[in-house]
């Protein structure tokens, strides 16, 4: 049984025909061609597949695509404005928060959600907020520093 639904991803509407059991991650990466979200485990353990659904961070590997219909989905591809990087993206580059980059999309999404909920987080709050995202490369040092610096940047911009 297939259902025709419309997914709203990064402010674009995508009509897709889906079987019930399809995960949001497989549809984003497959039918929609948005391969920015990564699959590191398919088991809700690594956070590489994280996207925002109505602003809340969700592991898209463990979320049914049909459930996402009618909601606003944001993936890493939706963070920049045209060619202008989001302050978090810029800060990740400047603070050595990116090495292999495989955790980066999920980290950026997680950090976006964190700063939306808590614009001025302490270091402990940053660490708690990102603890669902595994990184094997950086020891997280650059990532934490980048989130702190982006928070300051965003606060100044307001």
């Amino acid at each position: 049984m297939r259902y025709l639904v419309t997914l709203q991803v990064n402010r674009t509407s995508y009509p897709v025909e889906l079987e019930v059991g399809r995960t949001l991650l497989s549809v984003l990466r497959g039918e929609l061609g948005l391969t920015g979200s990564k699959e590191g485990c398919d088991d809700s353990e690594c956070g590489a597949c994280m996207v925002l659904i109505d602003g809340r961070p969700v592991n898209s590997c463990s979320y049914l695509a049909l459930q996402a219909a009618g909601r606003q989905i944001t993936t890493v591809e939706g963070l920049a404005s045209g060619t202008k990087l989001h302050p978090l993206q810029q800060a990740f580059l400047e603070h050595g928060a990116v090495q292999c980059g495989f955790c980066t999309p999920g980290m950026l999404i997680s950090a976006t959600a964190l700063l939306a909920a808590n614009p001025d987080p302490t270091e402990d709050e940053i660490r708690a907020g990102l603890s669902g995202n595994l990184c094997r490369c950086t020891g997280y040092v650059g990532i934490v520093a980048a989130v702190r610096s982006a928070a300051a940047e965003l606060a100044n911009a307001d």
């Binding site: 990564k38 353990e45 090495q99």
Partner: protein, 761 residues
């Protein structure tokens, strides 16, 4: 950091990665592509009685199934050719490949793989390291004696290789010692766990194949495909899209030949993407299980007179680079210490478990963890402070290494002093907290490597290299070196990399050797272009070539403000005539001479070329009731020659320390009785999260090596995980009073050590 050239380099690949537009192997699709799946043994040791693919082939949507019968019978392996790309007759570990399926969807491929009928007759599995080499143990390879092998390998049945280091007279040294300390350590295997599970896509056109693979070593993958499928290397092109980490697990030949053969049979491109479980179970690169018996004789003043050590190392079912790693482990069991009398042996033994192979600093952290605990035991027996004990024994310039090499200028002692100072060694701490320290060493690996540099008509630069970027930023830092030679900015260069048809050979993202070797190649190539630019400029400025310099994007007469021409202008002139093209490789620096007359099993790197030295100090807190260890702070001091890209180098230390903490406390392969992995999931195999990793203080000691890479630099990516587990172990015993001789030092093991009544540390 005298040679720092780019204080804040922004990686060329960074924008791809933060925007999600960068493609990794699993992200690729090509027209007509099918999906592949493997059928694996799932049992540790068995004879294949029957293999029937009829039912699987009948499934709609299945395009091809291949087994050993469909590919050339070629045995391969780096030092010991003991394996084939699919199992023939016998399976020797649970992850061994039996067949591959290509189908319209990943689901159909998986279903068909399960439908293949495999009738297996169970054989006794060899899993215990100590009994594996007894005469009554079943042989993992009954036909081991017929395998082609490196002539220096010493082997016998389940002993895949033995390496020894013999220097002076260990017996005599022990006899003369004031005290002799002997103890034993046991370490579980562990995994590299890149966050990207590997993916491979193969597409044939005519008689040549293009393989997009998440490999760290594209040239080794290419030669491996050529060897196993029987074709010339120039008909195999390996391209690595962005690589999502490797840490050694994606070294050597991976699964490229199987996917290439499958695509050829299917007549369609095929992509295989590993699940996390497969990424744990199938690669032939697990960090080795080890048993380490260490014995040290010391004088009353704390100087070491003799070292004996016997290491048993799990090779797993097949030998990839493990025999070489046994030799490395023997060097690490001596350590960066002055020891006149040495007798060390390292036995690499076959078992029916996943093959071991390079995982970040292979054998380094495990051996350092055991040795540095052993050294603290020795210090304790002498009543000496652990830092003072190391101070009295660490190697200095002019000292002789285990195999006779004479050290150049090195900074081993400085790393000890700096780490101790940074952590506040000796300061009072609350109950249950303590500081431990560990020192180690690691070689650089000089080797062949090539690069091309061109200046385009508009003055922008292009570097084409065969080097591989695995995330460390080593390839991303190459423009720093070209820019310095050409008087340009690093960001004026683009790099084309990790494509075997584009760039000249490089050893790949392995052995921390990219900057060391490919850096040299890039400098050589840029230097050719520099000569071409100077020729053009000398003509144009009517100046003496020797008076010219390249600086700020210009060629100019030294010191002159007016007599200059921009590199862009020179490039546009050259575009109409002799192009600005440089190619380089450069001579690898020599490895130190060695004295190994009494040693066996020498497979290269008998001495350590441009060795790097490092000390970590760990401040930990131990909960005596639960055995839970919390690392509060790490101070890491590294002598890596010089550092040219600080953001990259510190990033390696941070990541390495986090990995070292994981290996110390939570990361270990749990094996069942018969050698199967019980925890191939991230839920049960615990990596450090951002909430676990403590503050890390990084310090670099400068000691440019005359036989190092560019500017005297040494390898940097692997060492940072080496001394961390040992430092943590030594802190645990100082905090809680009991020594934990099993790795990882899980809460249960720590708790048991604390509960054991013998009170002996």
């Amino acid at each position: 950091m005298t040679a720092t050239l780019a204080p804040t380099l922004i990686r060329q690949d960074g924008r791809d990665k933060v925007t999600g537009s960068g493609r990794y192997a699993a992200d690729l699709t090509v027209t007509g592509m099918l999906h592949g799946a493997f059928r694996v043994a799932e049992v540790p040791h068995a004879r294949i009685r029957r293999l029937d693919t009829t039912a699987a082939r009948a499934l709609p949507g299945v395009y091809a199934i291949i087994t050993a019968a469909d590919v050339p019978e070629v045995r391969y392996g780096a030092f010991l050719k003991d394996r084939t790309i699919f199992a023939r007759d016998v399976v020797r570990w649970e992850g061994e490949l039996i067949a591959a399926v290509a189908a319209a969807t990943p689901e159909i491929a998986a279903q068909a793989a399960a439908l293949i009928e495999v009738d297996l007759e169970p054989l006794l599995a060899v899993t215990d390291l100590e009994t594996a080499t007894r005469p009554d143990a079943p042989l993992v390879h009954a036909e081991w004696a017929t395998y082609e092998a490196d002539e220096n390998l010493v082997r016998d049945g389940n002993l895949a290789s033995r390496s020894t280091i013999v220097k002076g007279d260990a017996d005599g040294g022990m006899a003369d010692a004031y005290i002799v300390v002997k103890d034993r350590y046991v370490a579980d295997g562990s995994h590299a766990v890149p966050i990207e599970p590997r993916a491979i896509l193969a597409e044939w056109q005519g008689d040549h194949v293009t393989i997009w693979s998440s490999t760290q070593v594209p040239f080794a993958a290419r030669s491996g495909v050529a060897e196993t499928l029987g074709m010339p290397q120039n008909q195999v092109r390996v391209i690595v899209p962005h690589l999502g980490g490797g840490f050694g697990a994606k070294c050597e030949l991976g699964f490229e030949p199987q996917v290439a053969a499958l695509a050829q049979t299917a007549g369609r491109p095929v992509k295989v993407v590993f699940s996390r479980r497969e990424e744990f179970l199938l690669p032939d690169h697990r960090r080795e299980r080890m048993i380490l018996e260490l014995e040290t004789g010391v004088r009353r003043d704390g100087t070491i007179v003799a070292r004996r050590a016997h290491l048993i190392i799990d090779n797993g079912a097949y030998s990839m680079d493990e025999p070489f790693l046994g030799q490395m482990a023997a060097m690490f069991a001596v350590g960066p210490y002055r020891i006149p009398n040495v007798d060390v042996s390292a036995d690499v033994v076959y078992t029916n478990t996943q093959p071991s192979g390079s995982v970040r600093a292979p054998t380094g952290p495990t051996t350092c963890w055991a040795l540095e605990q052993h050294h603290d035991v020795v210090a304790e027996r002498l009543g000496l402070d652990p830092v003072e004990f190391r101070r009295r024994n660490l190697v200095h310039e002019g000292d002789t290494g285990p195999t006779g090499q004479v050290f150049e200028r090195i900074g081993a002692l400085e790393t000890l002093e700096h780490a101790a100072a940074a952590i506040g060694w000796g300061r009072p701490l609350p109950d249950g907290e303590a500081i431990g320290i560990a020192t180690g060493w690691w070689p650089s690996f000089p080797g062949a490597s090539g690069a091309n540099v061109t200046i385009n008509a508009d003055g922008s630069g292009t570097i084409v290299t065969g080097a591989q970027e695995c995330g460390t930023g080593a390839v991303m830092a190459l423009p720093i070196l070209a820019a310095e030679v050409l008087g340009m900015r690093p960001d004026e260069f683009r790099i084309l990399y990790q494509d075997t048809d584009a760039g000249p050979y490089d050893g790949g993202a392995s052995g921390s050797q990219t900057t060391f070797n490919n850096g040299r190649a890039v400098i050589a190539a840029a230097t050719e272009v520099r000569e071409q630019l100077l020729d053009l400029a000398a003509d144009l400025l009517e100046a003496n070539r020797a008076d010219l310099e390249l600086i700020d994007g210009m060629a100019r007469v030294k010191g002159s403000q007016t007599s200059s021409v921009s590199i862009a202008d020179l490039a546009s002139q050259a575009a109409g005539a002799g192009l600005l093209l440089g190619r380089g490789s450069g001579e690898p620096p020599p490895t130190p001479a060695v004295e190994t007359a009494n040693c066996v099993g020498r497979l290269g790197a008998e001495s350590f070329a441009a060795p790097t030295f490092f000390t970590h100090a760990a401040h930990v807190k131990v909960d005596r009731d639960t055995g839970v260890v919390r690392v509060l702070e790490i101070a890491a001091s590294h002598e890596s020659g010089v550092v040219i890209n600080p953001i990259g180098a510190t990033g390696q230390i941070y990541g390495g320390v986090a990995m070292g903490i994981g290996q110390a406390l939570s990361e270990g392969v749990l094996l069942s009785e018969d050698g199967r992995q019980r925890n191939p999931y991230l839920l049960d195999y615990k990596l450090q999260t951002v909430a676990d990793v403590p503050p890390i203080h990084v310090d670099f000691v400068d000691a440019p090596s005359p036989t190092g890479g560019p500017k005297g630099l040494k390898g940097i990516a692997e060492p940072p995980c080496v001394p961390t587990p040992g430092a943590i172990a030594n802190a645990i015993v100082r905090a809680a009073g009991s020594r934990v001789r099993e790795l990882p030092m899980t809460p249960e093991r720590v708790w048991r050590a604390l509960a054991s009544t013998n009170g002996e540390n």
